[in-house]
Subunit: 414 residues, 2 copies
Amino acid sequence: MSELKGACIIGQSGGPSAVINASAYGAIKTALDNPSVTRVLGALHGIKGVLDDDLIDMGKEDPEELALMKYTPSSALGSCRYKLADPDEDDTDYKRILEIFKKYDVRYFFYNGGNDSMDTCNKISKYMLKQGYECRVMGIPKTIDNDLYGTDHCPGFPSAAKYIATSCMEVYRDARVYDTGMVTIIECMGRHAGWLTAAAALASYKGNGPDLIYLPETDFDMDKFIASVQKIYNEQKKCIVAVSEGVHDSEGTFITEYANKNAAKDNFGHTQLGGLAAFLAAKVKEATGAKVRGIELSLLQRCAAHCASQTDIDESYAAGEAAVLNAVAGITDKMVGYERVTGPDGKYAMKIKLFDLADVANTEKKVPLDWINETGDGLNEKFIEYALPLIQGETKLTHEDGLPRFVNLKMVKA
Amino acid sequence: MSELKGACIIGQSGGPSAVINASAYGAIKTALDNPSVTRVLGALHGIKGVLDDDLIDMGKEDPEELALMKYTPSSALGSCRYKLADPDEDDTDYKRILEIFKKYDVRYFFYNGGNDSMDTCNKISKYMLKQGYECRVMGIPKTIDNDLYGTDHCPGFPSAAKYIATSCMEVYRDARVYDTGMVTIIECMGRHAGWLTAAAALASYKGNGPDLIYLPETDFDMDKFIASVQKIYNEQKKCIVAVSEGVHDSEGTFITEYANKNAAKDNFGHTQLGGLAAFLAAKVKEATGAKVRGIELSLLQRCAAHCASQTDIDESYAAGEAAVLNAVAGITDKMVGYERVTGPDGKYAMKIKLFDLADVANTEKKVPLDWINETGDGLNEKFIEYALPLIQGETKLTHEDGLPRFVNLKMVKA
């Protein structure tokens, strides 16, 4: 494969995470250091930054400041939820993207995001191939939801899992402090895949976690739920529940829809969920008379950089780095992912593996049903074995005045 | 003052914090090491443990395991919200307490809690004095609310403040990631004093915090609030608000009462608050059409040991230690508190100071009005100067398998 010289664009898309910037930094730093990449451009707000010619020159950033991206949560370049049309129906956006690519002689395009972002990445890759414009396109995965096809796990999930397990352990201590009864319901993100909620099982494994855990992989039965809570409450005067925002009944209706019949939908047609913890808490109170508390982990679970897994940070950086190195070496049309291997010490290790973008786009990976217990309200040791290695290591985040020191980019327009 | 030999009881009461166990451990460790204290007993669930003769022998715990108390959130001995009657009206409980004190030859009583706990402590102290039973009684403060009289600040507040400021900085990054508009409302604890919500100003001071901060020290005007949000939203497409659960209108009615007219009351007659963030978010959505998100920090803010201030942990330990050393030296009927002094390096330092229990009991200290800005929606530099030294230092919490290693007591009955 001959050397391809040209500029690169990196963009971030979809819901942010505690480590999506670690991936972006891995790509930016590697690209800045690579002689084949003539210029490193950041697209502000993902693909919209390309469409709007809203690009910044990453080479103009102070290298020491830029390095803080590795420990800064959320998407430093901004994100979007913009859905590209099918190019056979409407190629307006694609023509514009090609125009911008030509304007800056862009020969490398790196897109950092989840399912929908890999779909965007795939469409752009296929369009450029069809147009005969040589541009190597690589997807860099990101999603706390952990639901991307192929890869062993997704950058962002381990840090969110560590935060959820840690918070569950702390809430467990707090919620059991009085001698009076209390039922606590903790709501985690996860629309169709229960990985994040499953992370609460790591706290239970440590003896300080929820008694009951409900994922969207199985149907949620309100009567069975109330009966299970009542049983534990009667025995212990306490019951802690972790529940996914996406739990649904046997007909597929989200339980939150019963709470909020006018739930808004986003640009991808996803129902905006939330308020489930309060709704279930009210149901439990009504049925049992117990004192209840609903806790929604909300945005906190996806941006808690102060509680990130250093394993996740390092792997996320490696994913961004691998995207650039592979592209420069001639690879295109792939998503970087992880393969779980056994390290030289006999313990968990991660190896970079590439996946076809077409396979990844819009495929969701769920928690295997045989990792869920027989009563459908907990996880078994298979999940613990899977998740525990991922949350190892405390973040090396720098502090200033006792608070996190996050990156501040100059954002010099290209 | 002659030496007083005998057993001690330590109990914990009221809402827990990330560092109340650091104080309890400071007292327990110091008492175990002191020859005047013949036996160290822990009262389970505070004063109820004394009334029920439900005491554990702290000397039977493994010293290394016991030392983990310093970094374990919530009350390891359990808590209660039991209110003692006025002894002139009903002295049943006091007679029982005296009976238990005599049974175990208790000559030292340490009570670890907030306003209501200092009231309990004061009543017991005065009763024992009146009965001529020699028992030295010391209050060890604790409250994330930071509202205890006299002391510069309360153990627990700095850690909660650090968590709130850190979380606000992270949410700030997350909530501004899209190019579409969004209003985010973060609800903090604090019924009558706004210290916790004020801590969000530390994030704003770092340039990554709320635009508007509302405390219960001033009246909350819904129309003015909506107008302020609208103005910032129009300018920036984003607006982040931190609000205390205890905000009220000019007639003193809690804003949450409008959301939940049947709010339950606890044993002290306090209204149980919550759900304000969701209520205000709905109000903002109705008035502005903006996309909104309400985040309630709930229990997370008081139990987040993983984000505790090491300054707070060390000071909390020192408070427990000082209670025992002063009692053994002959002091009684006091609460241990902090005085802010200038250290040899010209920087913040803390000195232990004792306060009369009678002065402390049931007095609330609020945020000074001249620390709040003129528009009543933010804090000025006086608050920053006050709070910043308190949140310094990251916790030395031990991790095991990537998760916090909290204490597990054997709890051997006395």
